[in-house]
Subunit: 407 residues, 2 copies
């Protein structure tokens, strides 16, 4: 196999602060509202994908986290088809015969996450972003790729950029204007910190694709309501546009309180639309509710908004805060969710100093401790977009085009 | 003390199936949407109130559940003032000198519930309905009383009638047209059954008055939203009017499936608006979520809607179903919430036959049992409105105008 036809890349997870929920087109994955996220640093959370092409491959194949999966999945096929289409276009435009040869080759894809899959940590976003970015490198495709990643998993388009990223919903039926765009790079707000509070590594009861469909079909707060003759996509049309503008301004001005309050309100509204679905969907469990109470009481104690929570389609909390508040908040989490492991196992990622917790703060929070409610914390920050891994020893596929044995 | 100046009445609890949430006038208690409820039978749940007047009383006084409370509470004062105003009007109209004398007397009020207070069981509704009904008897006031009860506690106006009752929100600023009205009497749908699943007798963390204020102030789904220049009281203006019409029709046609689905959707939307409040309010806990899942899975197993749940400002579930489904559902509750007490203590109210639960149903529901999640069930049905207790031995106040010792 020709070594030059093997490419390995990494891509990041992103956590939305203005949530994407509800599609206007299932196949093209076009949303009913714009959204905004922070790309997390790949030192802590990333997907790594190797793509190889070879004339000797009999068929397209894919391995995810060590297990071969069905390559005929429609969303995988959308990404492969779109990248090959762009590659063919580029090849025709430039009349490059060599590229055409590679285009006829089958691909082998191998992808791993360094974090648990399907636990509400947006693994599909990092996965599809990495797939599209790596395929693009293999096939020599350049330029705007977020519209292709979007067709794999909506929020994957936001993982194509680092820092603060908006996904502009677009208006066109073909989705050409439904793209991700960087609002600010990861270097813009160096004090911002992200803590992932992993409440449970179990698979969530309702996958977000089917959950989202049910919501759009049944939620009166979300879908078009014809009850009074008016057509109201309430959250999408009346709430989110204003919030997007406010959020972009808060990010640009590095106004933490404004950023935090919008983040919490939008998370709550997202979960409200899930509850207003029929039958209702619950992603927040008792641990999530305790985290929400902890954050509000912590902020109230200090008379300022120092912490924000946000929850996706699962019970894990993601906390946004500033560097100087991390040690005390982590200590508070350890106090109100006494872990069964030692501190080294409880806090992963960026190091966190140990500090004492004042009795005053403990009393002001005044919650009943919930032992083992949180398994561990991942301490991280904003980070860059997808990257090529130059070191060929890092390829996940061996020279035979199959996953390396070490997996 | 003159015996004829002592009156004892009872009044029922009501459980809304289209929820009241949000006031347009705090003082007059005018709602932002109409609502509809079922009045529960007083054999199981009631408030009993005795009112006495005497020229020897020095001041108005009130005892609630055996404890003297502050009579200057604004809502008590509203009810007392309105009843005395109507009595004075009537007295002037008819030129009845005797009534005028009684009007100048102070009142002693004594009230007890036969169920735990402030556990989300609408104790204030039964309480204020009973107070207003009893005061009206004492002062010889007749006619429309729901607008006075409403000024004590909004939902109290619906407890002034039996059966199926709507509270028409009204349009006037003075609230004169914000009244309760019977849709159908309690005899209309004799097969309908109500099961109160008491999840916890603890006091709820957020009282509904302050919760409602926060919601109206902050919920974008509930309050006027000016984000896009439109003024949208979304739930109140766009969702509830249609639901009220559908619910009245479902009740009139005794269409259980339609009644049940609207009930569940409206309960979920109410709790969604609570979650969309900032900071969010959680009334549903893990027991409530398990009840919701149990109901949906039960219905799905039978391919028809045989059960409906609804939750007010607390974790207790109220289940509506038809007589023939009660034994099996109660057995399912006993299976999935294994009680610590015996069956006699677990099921109160109307007797429920014991039946076997099929393995098929247990497997179809497939939830992890939650021991002691539900303390007990109150089995009841729709019932009549407030009643006078003719037997003078039932008075809660003794001939000295003070609560009887037995309390």
């Amino acid at each position: 196999m020709d070594k030059s036809n093997t490419v390995t890349c990494t891509a990041p997870v992103n956590i939305a602060v203005i949530k994407y929920w509800g599609k206007r087109d299932e196949e093209l994955i076009l949303p009913i509202n714009s959204s905004l996220s922070v790309t997390l640093h790949q030192d802590q959370l990333k997907t790594t994908t190797t793509v190889a092409t070879s004339r000797s491959f009999q068929e397209d194949r894919i391995w995810l986290n060590g297990k071969e999966e069905d390559i005929t999945h429609p969303r995988l096929q959308s990404c492969l088809r779109e990248i090959r289409r762009l590659a063919r276009k580029r090849s025709n435009d430039r009349d490059l015969a060599l590229d055409s040869t590679c285009l006829s080759h089958k691909v082998h894809i191998c992808s791993v996450n360094n974090f648990p899959t399907a636990a509400g940590l947006a693994s599909s976003a990092a996965g599809f972003a990495c797939l599209v970015y790596t395929l693009a490198r293999v096939f020599g495709v350049e330029g705007e790729l977020s519209a292709i990643a979007r067709q794999g998993s909506g929020s994957a388009c936001r993982s194509m950029y680092g820092g603060f990223v908006q996904w502009i919903m677009g208006q066109k039926d073909d989705g050409k204007d439904s793209l991700a765009q960087q609002v600010e790079p990861e270097t813009h707000w160096p004090e911002l910190r992200v803590l992932v509070l992993v409440a449970s590594a179990e698979r969530k009861p309702v996958g977000s694709t089917s959950g989202m469909q049910t919501s759009v079909q049944t939620s009166c707060l979300l879908k078009r309501v014809y009850v009074t003759g008016l057509c109201v996509q309430h959250r999408a049309e009346s709430v989110v546009p204003g919030r997007m503008a406010e959020m972009i301004e808060a990010v640009q001005r590095k106004d933490f309180a404004a950023f935090a309050e919008l983040t919490m309100k939008d998370s709550n509204q997202f979960h409200a639309t899930c509850l207003d679905t029929y039958p209702p969907i619950f992603y927040l469990n008792s641990v999530s509710q305790q985290v929400i109470n902890l954050v509000h009481r912590y902020n109230r104690h200090y008379g300022e908004t120092r912490l924000a929570y946000t929850f996706d389609a699962g019970p894990n909390a993601v906390i946004y805060t500033l560097q100087q508040h991390v040690p005390e908040f982590v200590q508070a989490v350890e106090h109100f969710f006494p872990p069964e492991t030692n501190r080294g196992q409880f806090i992963k990622g960026l190091p966190v100093n140990r500090v004492a917790l004042s009795e005053e703060l403990k009393q002001a929070i005044g919650l009943e401790p919930m032992p083992k409610g949180i398994s561990y914390i991942i301490s991280t920050k904003a980070g860059p977009g997808p990257r090529v891994v130059e070191d060929p020893t890092q390829h996940l596929l061996g020279s035979d085009g199959l996953p390396k044995k070490i997996m």
